[in-house]
Subunit: 147 residues, 2 copies
Amino acid sequence: MAKNDHNQTLHDPLDALLGYQLRRASSVMMADLSAALRETGLRPVEASIMLVIESSPGCTQSDVGRLLAIKRANMVPLIAGLFKRDLVYRAPVDGRSQALFLSPAGEAMAREAHSAIDRHEQRFQALFEDADVSKLLAALRQIRTLG
Amino acid sequence: MAKNDHNQTLHDPLDALLGYQLRRASSVMMADLSAALRETGLRPVEASIMLVIESSPGCTQSDVGRLLAIKRANMVPLIAGLFKRDLVYRAPVDGRSQALFLSPAGEAMAREAHSAIDRHEQRFQALFEDADVSKLLAALRQIRTLG
DNA sequence: TATTGTTATACTCTATAACTATA
DNA sequence: TATAGTTATAGAGTATAACAATA
């Protein structure tokens, strides 16, 4: 409930909409994550790519794109940016794919990213009991199944 | 859990991150909402603006922007687009603001939007018990308070 | 001084189509 | 034929700065 300059009460007709609340909550968390990662120089999408490569060394950029729902075409400048900063390196798998690995600098950067992400996640998860966080995550995974 | 072409197991290191699951779930629902609204010719953001004007006739475009977290500068082409389609009309409040109202065509369009949104919401809310939908909405509102 | 509506602009994100080389 | 990586490009979405008119 809010009021405008002319004393008109503005109530939010979207308040009970799952899609709307999801979008607004997601936008709040994304902004906080951006801020948390600021000092690392990584954007959220770059940090997520680094963590995927860290957990699956040798995966291809198409693999990463499929996992994170990023189109192949959009992966190109993202991986190129990480490569140019010497955070990842590539090794040929076959004539068309290249395996991705974190460089030593990339490993260090991944540790910084983990630390920033953990602090950021903790800030929000602290709003809930542990069991409720699990239920929330389960609900969000359920929603994703309809995509 | 997924496998790539070279039998490498790809597990998702972001699976337990609230921010990530929120973003992915939100993106699934937004895509579904876009599709649900397609035949009305409204984009999600336009539909949400229409519903706010419907529920608070006479509000200004700055009011709408504040409620929906849309910057004043970005409201201009949105309201102009609805105005050009004769879905909303404006009446001067004072020298600088104009009150917004739905035209008869806008009221009809709002009913179509409600119907499409209801079907879309039902598709997702049907994944859960009613009490769990309420808990989910409450959790998302909690997350928004940290923004 | 602060606010409304506006213009101009830029940057990010996402999407598509088309090409090459390889499998 | 299908896939990996790439280029080019277009469309959203979002952000800031600045201005005129008004409160």
